[in-house]
Symmetry: C2
Subunit: 508 residues, 2 copies
């Protein structure tokens, strides 16, 4: 087949202009699009299909760990937000405020807000305070605990600079909210959900992550401890991909969540919250996509494969399509990662090469081309999205079908290993300031985007020194890895002893 392949299907490449490459991937893969509403994106069917698979996989894990779903109001009265001081401080600066409940035509016939509310409502940026108000009613006795709930919802944070999936005014997420009788139980829940996120990132997203604790500066507003999973993107920046917060008794006190203990004493409860969002799709893109388009791990791909009938002459059309339909049916009968295999049969118009490349750009794991000559041999012509450097090859249909699930597994595992290699290659252990400054300074001024990586070092900078590092290098502490939580050493920047071992990086 004569492919109309340019040097790469996506322009610019990652090397040429990484941020612009990202936007082009979102567009070429038809994942999302900016909307006419400031900062709000439209998630298109292919992107939403990825989100549906993320939801299903996570939701199963939440339920397996004893959580139930519920739904709480979109609106939060301002007085609720104010109940926790750090919380309102963190969210008041960027929230959508509802002040009226109807529109009325003015003298010029222009519609203006009318029916002013007694108390303005904020569109939830997160739901601790409104859910806390309900928990305070539901929790009376230790017998009512624990409460283990999750909500799938939209939230709004009025971000000034937005980028599709990574930072949008409205985004979709899940927020878990739990209430416990003891500190230890709440701590265990916080860590358990972090483990769920890690396992999901590794097994489904094929995205290696580092579990860690956030420093005070990066903590969730109102939390005692924020845990996170951090992943390395292909430009070697870090992406915070999920967080789990131990809220101590802060929100229990703010919302008066109290219970009568087994010993007959009134106590404030202990709460947690944890969430991941459509930002994960940004993480998928920057972990796996290449200069030919999106690459989606099979476990999250809306479709696992596409069949492209090759029809050069009208008289072969019926035979080719019938063969493709049988093949589609065979593959659809298989199950992979908890759902039926999904196979597209692309009967659209357009030239074969163009159609093939449109699916490559969408990141479908497997392409299957079938023409009359293949049918004569009962064979199919197979391409793997993760191995674009290999020539597409013909193989017996029977073998292909029998090996299909193994093929998907191979792709899934290969993507994880490749991402893990990148992370390992660009994680360095450094022990002094000069090394760190050199590491985070671009070698090539023409190519400022892709450089640096994760620096594993001991760190004991105070606010001033941290601010300096951020100003000079745009670098911050991404987390204190849980694997090294107890280690202490000499700060690479200040030489202070008793420093904790952290990951430094630029970040999204």
């Amino acid at each position: 087949m004569n492919d109309p392949k340019p040097r790469t299907a996506i322009s610019p490449t990652r090397e040429d202009n990484y941020p612009e490459w990202y936007q082009q991937i979102v567009k070429a893969a038809d994942l999302a699009e900016n909307s006419p509403v400031r900062g709000c994106m439209v998630i298109k069917p292919w992107g939403y299909g990825v989100w549906e698979n993320i939801q299903r996989a996570l939701d199963d894990r939440f339920k397996e760990t004893g959580h139930v779903n519920a739904y709480f109001p979109l609106f939060i009265p301002v007085s609720f937000l104010e109940k926790e001081a750090a919380h309102v401080e963190g969210f008041a600066k960027e929230c959508a405020v509802v002040t009226h409940h109807r529109l009325e035509a003015n003298a010029e016939g222009k519609l203006i807000p009318a029916g002013e509310l007694d108390e303005p409502l904020v569109v939830r940026p997160t739901s601790e305070t409104i859910i806390g108000a309900m928990f305070s009613k539901w929790v009376q006795s230790y017998r009512d605990l624990p409460i283990l709930m999750n909500q799938w919802a939209n939230v709004v944070r009025w971000e000034m600079r937005t980028r599709m999936f990574l930072r949008t005014a409205e985004f979709l997420w899940q927020e878990g909210h739990t209430v416990h009788a003891t500190e230890a139980e709440a701590q265990a829940e916080t860590r358990k959900m972090l483990d769920v996120y890690e396992a999901f990132a590794h097994e489904y997203m094929a995205m290696p992550v580092i579990k860690g604790e956030k420093t005070a500066e990066e903590r969730f507003p109102g939390a005692v401890t924020t845990y996170c999973i951090e992943a390395m993107m292909q430009d070697r920046k870090a992406l915070q991909a999920g967080t789990s917060h131990f809220l101590g008794q802060n929100f229990a006190k703010a919302s008066e969540i109290k219970f009568l203990s087994a010993a007959g004493v009134q106590e404030h409860a202990w709460t947690t919250s944890w969430g991941v969002s459509t930002r994960l799709i940004g993480g998928l893109i920057m972990t796996h996509a290449d200069d030919n388009g999106m690459v989606i791990p099979p476990k999250l791909a809306p479709s696992h494969a596409v069949i492209l009938p090759v029809i050069h002459k009208e008289e072969t059309r019926a035979e080719v399509i019938a063969y493709c339909e049988r093949l589609q049916k065979e593959l659809k009968a298989l199950h992979y990662a908890g759902r039926s295999v999904s196979v597209q049969l692309d009967l659209g118009e357009g030239r074969g090469g163009e159609k093939y490349w449109s699916w490559v750009k969408k990141g479908i794991p497997v392409t299957i081309e079938v023409g009359p000559r293949d049918i004569a041999n009962d064979s199919v012509f197979v391409g793997r999205r993760d191995r674009m450097d290999e020539k597409r090859a013909g193989m017996a249909r029977k073998d292909f079908v029998a090996g299909f699930l193994g093929l998907l597994d191979g792709i899934q595992e290969g993507l994880f290993r490749k991402a893990q290699d990148l992370q390992k290659r660009h994680t360095v252990t450094l022990t002094n300031r000069d090394e760190i400054y050199a590491y985070f300074t671009p070698k090539n001024a023409q190519q400022p985007e892709i450089h640096g990586g994760f620096v594993d070092c001991f760190f004991a900078c105070g606010p001033e020194e941290s601010a300096r590092l951020k100003e000079d290098l745009a670098v911050t502490v991404r987390c204190i890895p849980l694997a090294h939580l107890e280690e202490r050493g000499t700060c690479a920047i200040t030489g202070k002893s008793g420093a904790r071992r952290v990951i430094l990086a630029k970040s999204y």
Copy 2:
């Protein structure tokens, strides 16, 4: 077992006070609760579990009929809403308006809205206009058509009088939006989705519905034709349970959705929209619940059965629980209506009778009590939620498990038949005004809620006569049944000829 059963578990009964009975069912079954945010409810886990099953069943059907899911912005600029005159007229009077994008402390330290937006945003009451703006970009040629999309989302309509599930300021729904090249195709889509809703209502909700067309007064603002499914509740009022709108070219013109036809002509497209919401759960309650609590059809029940271990003596505890766990595992291995059978094992504290009744009130289809004597006989003690008048009976475990799916089917079908009987019993064909007035006038002033029903009659009233009927009897035309769309006769009220055959009823 000594049941602490009052005359009925729910008070008041339907007979005593139907609206209050409804609220008590929502509470006793733990389906939802009012929130501190005006008009917004909290959907609790048991209620949300029903919604998840509704979603899954409908989503499968939408996908089978070629639709894909996507997600569009929560906010709609006022200027978008204004594009379709009837539409803005219909929704401007009750919408949440976002006017600011942050909160700031004033001189007294009180948080007030700040950062006024150039153009106010409305929280979507429905998404025709914002989705239309995207469609106008996506549709260029007849090759881009049809577009068949659906969105699962929250919407807000600032209703003044709210009732949980039936009418709330915020509710959850799905909204399908499609674009077609021809009028005929858009009409066919509108009717196809109405058929999907009818089949879902009958097969899953066990709720008989009448498919019909709305009169101009009850049409969706901006639609050419609104089709609906109408169900009879136990107080014999009608509930509009789903709508499907043929929008003609109204929204295509408002949003400039145009395409180049195969003949090379620029044409406006034809659009449809269709939706059902969490209101369906209100419909489930009023179709099936009784004076002992909720009754959930098995296909939508969050759990199909609960196992209640009967433990009178501590020394039998381990054996009883082990037996129950084995039984739970056996049942969970079964599949019903596209999902694994879900079985609760209630190990909570509390007396057996209380626990049993709490599950009855929640409407779980089957209760299974197991004590040492049952275990000795390898038998279980089974109760059916749909047959509370029958004594719960012991049966061999093996037979019970083997017949479990059939039992669920029997309950599902029985509920449908019972609801259908009610609808038939209270649907009358009337031919004159006096009969109609008598039919809709309560016989007993003490009992104003439950009376009347569906009147099948010919009807040709104008706006004035219709308003009179509404004022006198609170009765409106619910729909023109599709089954009788072409029939004409003599208006039962005015005696005019050429009248259409309609269903008159009070409604929610």
